[in-house]
């Protein structure tokens, strides 16, 4: 498994070099430029100082001239943006059992805040096409790679056949430019899922390669009635006056905290709006596709009821004041807009100002909902009731006897650092008396940007064996119920929250810091806050070679992944 990773990275690097424009290949660390440089319009491939939105920290002279230890990289740099097709908004593709969808990934023109960018799209759309199918359906996606990087597609949250999980070197070879790979999808679980590349997510996913899959229930009355259903994909993008802020060529930059964007987007646009009638109950399907940002979503004070988690409904619907959603997580929420008026969708967080040592309330406008007139169908009564979902409870019942079992695996989340910038080391040594449970904002843009996986190696440490990250290859069997205790070590060098994702299986969170979870849903990704110990119970159903990893794109590439193998005793050769 380790070999795969090494080869994968190397391969990516080798393949990228020939397609980069001459300017990129000539880039060296003396070519970077800083703010104030006279730039013509259009994206620039030169390293320049990381955007410092809202920072109070004075610039440290020692850091002014530093750039990351990797070249600057923008896919499609030098392309004539006007020659690229303009991406169009996402469309819903209804798929019946046995249907085939032909979909590519390609370079597109996107216009964001009035500025044109060379970006990427699935099926020419932003977000990618919303694939909609009934639970139990099987469909085929014939995928063609028309971007200038090798890629794969991972179908996040689906318990599909291992061969189609989209992991380069493990389940398939990278899909090279011009090549096609046929994915067979199946949808055993109702809910909202999403697809994205599993190579250089920090670049490809960030540039627009993401889309939803909505799996409809086949049961009557599975959900309460609502007036409408709306997918909301949350994302952010990092730009400055010179265009898209470049990515790392050989490896992702921003290895410490992940790449926070400074432009917030809902469904790929910055001015998302929705017109509804007053009195409507709207069902929102939320997906967070950001590289690292965790959102705290409000709907302008409208009441919110959480219906479902990543892979199932909750045991009990629950009213909440906001929706906290980490990268790769999904939540289905019903929101009641009782009055006429305008409701702002916002991300409201307490950012940290590391220089002043203070919490700073930060609110990002994500979109606007305008309610007028009055809804033809009144679902207020159904909304007011928080349903108990007996089907979910029954589904989880068979696992309750395992809730308090001793962990089968103990995982410690930590980081090993090497040759970090001296100033970063000094800063971090000073700023280590308090780490927040979640990093809601980019609190240290320069230091974060300068770090790559060479300096900051995020590590999953198996405390039972001492093995680290891809040295780990847990062996399970179909039918196992595996408890993993994940501890996010606050004593590691600059700890951070990690959204932990398990491929190909589903799990429930049984305990949070030792406190039993009293309202579960099946999940595939869970927030592990700093200092916390989270117990998850994995329902091992799906044979094959899989991964579990942090879903912060830059952490994944900085090593934060492990392997596990599920064997099916009834099929001795399966998964081998």
């Amino acid at each position: 498994m380790q070999r795969f990773r090494f080869n994968g990275l190397l391969l990516a690097a080798v393949l990228l070099i020939p397609v980069l424009p001459a300017q990129a290949q000539e880039m060296d660390h003396s070519m970077h430029m800083h703010h104030g440089h006279d730039m013509s319009a259009g994206d620039s491939l030169a390293w320049r100082m990381a955007p410092m939105d809202g920072m109070t920290m004075p610039m440290m002279p020692e850091m002014m001239d530093d750039v990351p230890d990797t070249g600057a990289f923008l896919p499609g740099f030098g392309m004539d943006v006007s020659m690229l097709p303009e991406a169009r908004p996402s469309e819903i593709i209804d798929m019946a059992n046995g249907d085939t969808l032909r979909m590519d990934a390609s370079m597109v023109r996107r216009t964001i805040n009035g500025r044109e960018y060379v970006m990427m799209a699935y099926g020419g759309m932003y977000p990618g096409p919303l694939i909609r199918a009934d639970r139990g359906a099987k469909v085929v996606v014939e995928f063609t790679n028309n971007i200038e990087m090798p890629t794969t597609v991972h179908w996040h949250g689906l318990r599909l056949d291992n061969a189609f999980d989209g992991i380069p070197g493990l389940t398939q070879d990278p899909v090279e430019t011009g090549e096609t790979f046929t994915y067979e999808l199946k949808f055993p679980d109702t809910g909202m899922y999403w697809y994205h590349p599993h190579m250089r997510e920090d670049v490809q996913q960030d540039l627009g390669l993401y889309g939803n899959m909505l799996v409809d229930p086949t049961e009557e009355d599975y959900y309460a009635p609502v007036n409408r259903e709306v997918p909301l994909i949350l994302d952010d993008l990092l730009v400055d006056a010179n265009g898209l802020f470049p990515y790392g060529e050989e490896a992702p930059t921003h290895a410490l905290m992940g790449r926070f964007g400074n432009v917030m987007m809902v469904n790929g646009i910055t001015d998302y709006s929705l017109d509804i009638e007053a009195g409507e109950v709207v069902r929102f399907y939320l997906t967070n596709v950001a590289n690292t940002r965790t959102f705290n979503v409000n709907f302008g004070g409208a009441r919110i009821k959480v219906i479902a988690d990543d892979v199932s409904k909750l045991e009990r619907e629950q009213f909440v004041s906001s929706v906290i959603i980490a990268p790769a997580e999904r939540y289905i929420v019903d929101v009641y807009f009782d009055d006429e008026g305008t409701y702002e969708i916002t991300n409201a967080v307490q950012a940290i100002d590391h220089f002043r040592g203070t919490f700073v309330p930060e609110t990002h406008q994500l979109g606007t909902i305008s309610a007028s007139g009055s809804a033809s169908a009144d679902h207020a009564d159904a909304f007011a009731e928080a349903r108990t979902n007996e089907d979910t409870i029954a589904d989880i019942d068979g696992f309750r006897r395992y809730f308090d079992k001793a962990p089968d695996h103990n995982l410690r989340l930590t980081i090993e650092t090497k040759d970090l910038h001296p100033m970063t080391m000094r800063m971090m040594e000073v700023d280590t008396l308090y780490f927040p449970p979640i990093e809601w904002n980019e609190g240290m843009p320069m230091m974060n940007w300068l770090s790559t996986g060479d300096e900051a190696k995020w590590t999953l440490l198996d405390e039972d064996t001492g093995k680290k990250s891809m040295e780990i290859n847990w062996q399970w069997e179909v039918g196992d119920v595996v408890k993993i205790r994940v501890f996010n070590d606050p004593a590691s060098f600059h700890p951070m929250n990690h959204p932990f994702h398990v491929h190909g299986q589903r799990f429930v969170v049984t305990h949070i810091d030792g406190v039993p979870n009293r309202n579960m849903g099946w999940k595939d990704t869970v927030i592990i806050p700093v200092g916390s110990t989270i117990d998850i119970l994995v329902d091992v159903t799906n044979p094959g070679k899989w991964m579990a990893h942090c879903h912060i794109a830059e952490h994944l590439h900085a090593g934060m992944m492990l392997g596990f193998e599920v064997r099916d005793p009834s099929m001795p050769n399966a998964g081998r």
């Binding site: 929706v323 967080v349 002043r356 040592g357 969170v509 927030i527 806050p529």
Partner: protein
């Protein structure tokens, strides 16, 4: 440690840490500079150690702790609408002999004392639980007349107090790499 911290900054931080943290935490905080992970680190990173004021008879050697956990939500952690962490605080005290007619009451307050709220009176096991969404706060245990509902502010002497972990986050102006940055420029 490869890069020595400027001495004044380091001493200041150390002093702060000593004032507010139990000994084992000082060790872990100071050793975070080396990048290996220490063994035996408490998972209770945000736990609040209550330090006695030694001023109240019967409680001069009082021990206490405020355990901090997230209020249950479907999201694992809990936030108030403005994004502040919403936490449970489970307070327990020991080594206290209460005089007749007295009870202990737990409070949370912002560091500026401009907002105070009561978590309630400690029960016969010297325990009480409550919630707060203050970003930085002090946990304060005071001696109050028995049987009375806690008001908006304590009346009796402070028995013990401790600070939330977030209270340790302090300005870098004038410290460390910013030694030459005068705090006054930034208004503090």
């Amino acid at each position: 440690m490869r890069f020595l911290l400027p001495r004044i900054g380091f001493l200041l931080i150390l002093a702060l840490a000593v004032m507010a943290l139990p000994a084992r935490d000082v060790d872990s905080a100071a050793s975070e500079a080396d990048t290996t992970c220490a063994e035996g680190v408490s998972p209770d990173y945000y736990e609040i150690e209550l330090v006695t004021t030694r001023k109240v008879s019967g409680a001069r050697l009082a021990k206490g702790v405020g355990e901090v956990t997230y209020v249950q939500s479907p999201f694992g952690i809990s936030l108030s609408e403005d994004g502040s962490y919403l936490v449970n605080i489970d307070v327990s005290m020991s080594n206290v002999k209460l005089a007749d007619g007295k009870q202990l009451v737990a409070w949370v307050t912002t560091p500026q004392l401009d907002e105070i709220s009561s978590l309630g009176a400690l029960d016969e096991n010297l325990q009480v639980s409550g919630q707060t969404d203050f970003n930085k706060f002090l946990l304060v245990i005071t001696l109050e007349p028995a049987g009375e509902e806690p008001g908006t502010m304590w009346t009796g002497p402070v028995v013990s107090r401790g600070m939330s972990r977030s209270g340790l986050m302090h300005t870098m102006a004038g410290h460390g790499p910013f030694e030459t940055e005068p705090c006054a420029v930034y208004g503090y």
